[in-house]
């Protein structure tokens, strides 16, 4: 048979591509459940890390089941809120329902529009509230979780992750504990603009310590990632402003 004829070549490539596509689709479908379970445990462990319930490495060593169990023990309430700060719907605590990355991405478009969104709030028993942020870094999405104290203003902790930021530079948002530690004790100025800022050139300092305000230092050599994360945090915390505004009203 002439394997170099045009017809043969076209048919051959069509068959190969179809077979490969079928194999990949089958494998992807059959492994989906397991992958989602892993993703969910990862999401929850990131939230718990931001909330200061342990370090990321500890949760990794724990295994999925224990991570879900810890979450089940610590969580008090999980629900979504809209632009007015009003509760939209409850997340199923029994199922340990959390917003996946693709759900955050879907909401991200609505948050950008400024209305019609329903974004998750996770309230823990010790008074800590954890909210997600999502945005674009340099090469791909960046996202993370910011935990607030009971006053709804002071940051208790933060954890960030990324898909493909540059190793050693932009990847520091995830890998460098010092960067995440910078958030601790700072405040988000809800209702102001910017709500929070990652600034180039240094946040105001006193005696070598960062002044308690809404600014922290950007990462050297990772301007684009820092800017992307800054925009993500501002947009998402801005979207939560109305919700956190209700904290103040309760105090007064």
């Amino acid at each position: 048979m002439n394997t170099n004829s045009n017809l043969y070549t076209v048919i051959y490539t069509a068959i190969i591509v179809t077979v490969v596509a079928a194999v990949l689709a089958f494998v992807s479908q059959s492994l989906k459940g397991k992958q989602e379970a892993n993703e969910k445990a990862e999401t929850i462990s990131q939230m718990l890390t931001a909330g200061g319930f342990g370090s990321k490495a500890e949760f990794q060593a724990m295994g999925n089941v224990k991570v879900l169990e810890t979450y089940g023990n610590e969580i008090e309430e999980a629900f979504t809120v809209d632009a007015e700060g009003a509760k939209v719907a409850d997340l199923d605590l029994g199922q340990k329902e959390v917003f996946s990355r693709s759900q955050l991405k879907a909401q991200n478009y609505k948050v950008k529009d400024g209305n019609g969104y329903a974004i998750p709030v996770y309230k823990f028993k010790n008074g800590i509230t954890v909210v997600p942020v999502y945005g674009a870094g340099l090469w791909g999405p960046v996202w993370g979780y910011i935990a607030f104290e009971a006053d709804g203003q002071t940051i208790h902790g933060a954890y960030f992750d990324h898909e493909s930021e540059t190793a050693g530079l932009g990847a520091k948002i995830k890998d460098d504990p010092a960067f995440q530690a910078e958030f601790v004790g700072e405040k988000a100025f809800f209702g102001e603009s910017p709500v929070f800022a990652i600034v180039k050139g240094g946040a105001p300092k006193e005696d070598g310590k960062s002044v308690v305000d809404n600014q922290i230092d950007a990462i050297t050599g990772a301007t684009m990632t820092s800017n992307g994360l800054d925009a993500a945090i501002n947009m998402w915390l801005g979207a939560y402003a109305a919700y956190f505004g209700t904290f103040k009203a309760e105090e007064e």
Binding site: T3, N4, Y12, L31, N38, A41
Partner: protein, 201 residues
Amino acid sequence: MKLKETVLDPIFKSNPITVLVLGICSSLAVTVTMKGALVMAISVMAVCGISSLILSTLRNTIPGRVRIIVQLVVVAMMVILVDQILKSFESTFPIDKQLSVYISLIITNCIVMGRIEAFALGNKPIPSFLDGLANGAGYGLVLLIVAFFRELLGSGTLFGMQIMPASYVTNNLVILPPFALILLGCIVWVQRSIQKDLQEK
């Protein structure tokens, strides 16, 4: 070529990294920890071996003009399969996250396409499969040697277990990619002084 040589040559005598100087990029990137290097080594072995087997079986039917494209499709399929499988297990999920793009980048690893083009398309399936595995193993061996020094000196651990005494100050240079290049250079040096025929006159 005898089967024994097919298997043993790529491990040392014609090692893909130190002699052919292929796959350097990923060997700099994934050798910070032994775990990462081991998973990467096994992944490359699987991709290289099985793609070679499939393409060698098909070799007489592949149209010459779209040869490379067909190879690429099969290799890409294998890489995606490996990535999907790594993502599915609780124990390998964090490693897959840590290796991130480098698993997908196996497709651009010259060793895989190089061995298919040079060996699998001209040989029977079984020797091709062994050749693919052996080249993956040769690559993996160098990866593990580099990772051994980098993890031991850079983090004071091996496979995540503390080896160095607590007073050991970890060396940050070792963690950074340039040190992998220095180590690779040393390995090539050792190999060339043992294997005289590699030395240029």
